[in-house]
């Protein structure tokens, strides 16, 4: 069984972002693998350790620094990597439907049995790519996975949904997007980091697989309003008046 794991390189969650007129300032900012993508890689490695899958291929879309996330995935245990290169801004111009189309092309080219992804990326929070990919491939999907079992080509996934936990079952191939509590990624060991250097890394220019349509345009980026002080209200009427007229809740 072959697994494709899609990883994205995003702004590190710990830093304080600076907002510029054309978007977030990425100059010199610390970037790292998207935490949910890292969880997806870790899950693939665990499935391989259980001998349920034979090969893990990590893929990313982005400029040449994006290879860092691929090398991280290889160091965690992926076997091969594919780097779809583009100079476009990955936090703005590389959008879910275009990504899904590119991944669909790769799935058709290489015949994967399973695609694992993070549920969303922490820069744009779209939470769409996995779902769109499943739609394009006409494959079953299970999103927000907090537990994955695979037996005899059948995937059983526990999903974390607003109402609680939902268990779904489907016959592979399929798409699964990973949520926070699925696993805790391991620390890459130094020998594995060094071994990763000699694992195959294929580079494909983006226009060989698809196109960036920029169908969603970002019109404004602004920092959230600075938190103002609260106020103590005397009674419920005043509370409702404030909620209606100031907070504009209803």
């Amino acid at each position: 069984m072959k697994v494709l794991v899609a990883v994205k390189r995003v702004v590190d969650s710990g830093i304080k972002v600076r907002v510029k007129p054309d978007g977030i300032d990425l100059q010199g900012v610390k970037m790292t693998i998207n935490p949910f993508c890292e969880i997806a890689v870790e899950e693939a490695v665990r499935l391989k350790e259980k001998k349920l899958i034979a090969e893990i291929v990590a893929v990313t879309i982005g400029p040449k620094q994006g290879a860092e996330s691929l090398r991280h995935a290889l160091a965690l245990g992926a076997d091969k990597a594919i780097h779809v290169t583009t100079e476009a801004r990955i936090d703005q111009a590389v959008q879910p439907l275009d990504v899904a189309n590119i991944l669909a092309k790769l799935v058709e080219r290489d015949n994967y049995n399973l695609v694992l992804m993070g549920k969303q990326s922490i820069d744009d929070d779209f939470n769409q790519t996995g779902q769109m990919l499943a739609g394009l491939l006409d494959w079953p999907q299970a999103t927000f996975a907090s537990n994955i079992q695979i037996t005899d080509g059948i995937a059983q996934v526990i999903r974390e949904i607003d109402g609680g936990l939902q268990t779904v079952k489907f016959k592979l191939p399929g798409v699964i997007t990973c949520d926070l509590r699925l696993n805790q990624p391991r620390f890459a060991s130094v020998p594995n980091i060094m071994k990763a250097k000699s694992k195959p890394l294929e580079t494909i220019p983006l226009d060989k697989l698809g196109k960036l349509h920029n169908s969603i345009q970002i019109t404004k980026t602004e920092a959230p309003a600075i938190r103002k002080g609260g106020a103590i209200v005397e009674n419920v009427d005043v509370l409702i008046q404030k909620l209606r007229n100031e907070a504009k809740l209803f």
Partner: protein
């Protein structure tokens, strides 16, 4: 694993290590490894460092995990069983891990020193037995050089190994030995003749091997330090590492790497001190404003930052010279060791002062960093000896 009771939660800096984490001289591989080491340090070491210090606890489980990640044989070549990285990588790793806990990182540094000696000077048999055990933290190894009467003047050692048939009989006392009484293997540096200094392995539980009490030190509490006493300790001559008379050369070559490592430990500790000071200056208000608004404190903080960056640069430069085996490597290593250990102690001490009364409380962690870093000016060659080496190299 021993369970620590009474864990107080300690402050972990908000944006630790990120602001002054300059990547000068580092290539992509160094950066990848630094990330792994720093993530590990912040998650698995930093929250517990104060507990380990308070309870005099050597964290074997954490050391095992670190060893399994490849951090115990960093600059031992791959064909000799190690990870095969360079001294610059080791510096980056120890700096990152020391951010979590200085003492435990120092214990790991000793493992690296002993592994280096066993790999490069040991017989194939010794290598095959001990390198895998070091890699899995199945063996803690202690390096025994200093004696009550020979510290800086280490040629003046008295521990003597006399030949007896196919064995050596060793008599003497070693002191200030990190890992004493809890190590599995002791690398004893001793005289095998009037002139020859050699290195001989003595395993734990060998008859005649005993230990003094665990010393009550100012810092480095998470590492037991004892005397190692050898009374007619009999070991086979196959326990000799390298050749007779080579012990000194071995020690000096290991100490160059060791000095880079201890300097790097100072860098990591000072980084944490600086980050804690930054948070404090921005949180604490007196006279109606944040402490970070007062110019006197701003100047002090600025000096601390510049000091840390300079120390880091000289340590990395020395590490690179060591990697390239340049002719002035020992000169630069000595300069780096004395400059970095002195400066980083001052950074930590200044950070304590910036914390005011709170700096004096254990809970704020600063005083632990000061206590731990204080010994770096002394061991692995006192900074006075470093100055002798520098002057000798430049003025002769």
């Amino acid at each position: 694993m021993q369970i620590i009771r009474n864990r107080i939660s300690y402050h972990i800096p908000r944006f630790g290590f990120k602001y002054l984490c300059d990547t000068t001289f580092l290539n992509e591989e160094h950066l990848q490894i630094q990330k792994v080491a720093l993530d590990f340090a912040k998650e698995k070491m930093l929250p517990y460092a104060s507990d380990w210090d308070k309870n005099n606890y050597l964290p074997s489980q954490v050391l095992k995990e670190l060893s399994e990640m490849g951090f115990a044989t960093i600059y031992v070549k791959q064909e000799l069983g190690g990870v095969g990285l360079d001294h610059l990588s080791a510096s980056v790793i120890f700096e990152a891990l020391s951010y979590g806990d200085i003492t435990t990182t120092a214990t790991l540094a000793v493992q690296n020193l002993c592994a280096y000696l066993l790999a490069n000077y040991g017989t194939e048999e010794q290598r095959k037995v001990w390198i895998p055990r070091i890699n899995s933290f199945d063996a803690l190894v202690a390096y025994c050089l200093t004696e009550p009467n020979s510290g800086s003047d280490n040629k003046n050692m008295e521990t003597y190994a006399k030949k007896d048939g196919k064995d050596y009989i060793i008599n003497g006392i070693k002191c200030f030995i990190s890992g004493g009484s809890v190590s599995d293997l002791y690398l004893i540096v001793c005289k095998t003749s009037e002139k020859d200094v050699s290195s001989i392995l003595v395993e734990k539980d060998t008859p005649g091997l005993s230990f003094g009490k665990v010393e009550d030190k100012m810092g480095w509490h998470a590492s037991p330090t004892t005397r190692v006493i050898l009374e007619n300790v009999r070991v086979p001559q196959s326990n000799l590492v390298g050749k007779e008379g080579q012990g000194f050369k071995m020690g000096m070559s290991a100490l160059d790497g060791g000095r880079i490592n201890i300097s790097s430990c100072s860098l990591g500790g000072a980084s944490l001190a600086l980050d804690l000071a930054k948070d404090y200056l921005q949180d604490r208000k007196q006279f109606g404003q944040q402490l970070s608004n007062f110019q006197g404190l701003q100047f002090k903080f600025a000096d601390m930052a510049a000091s840390l960056v300079t120390s880091r640069l000289i340590v990395r430069q020395a590490a690179m010279k060591l990697d390239e085996n340049q002719i002035d490597k020992s000169l630069y290593v000595s300069m780096a060791k004395t400059y970095a250990t002195d400066s980083c102690f001052d950074v930590a001490n200044d950070a304590l002062q910036l914390h005011g009364g709170y700096g004096y409380l254990r809970e704020y962690q600063i005083e632990r960093i000061v206590r731990d870093l204080r010994v770096h000016k002394i061991l692995e060659g006192t900074n006075e000896i470093m100055r002798m080496i520098i002057a000798r190299n430049l003025l002769k």
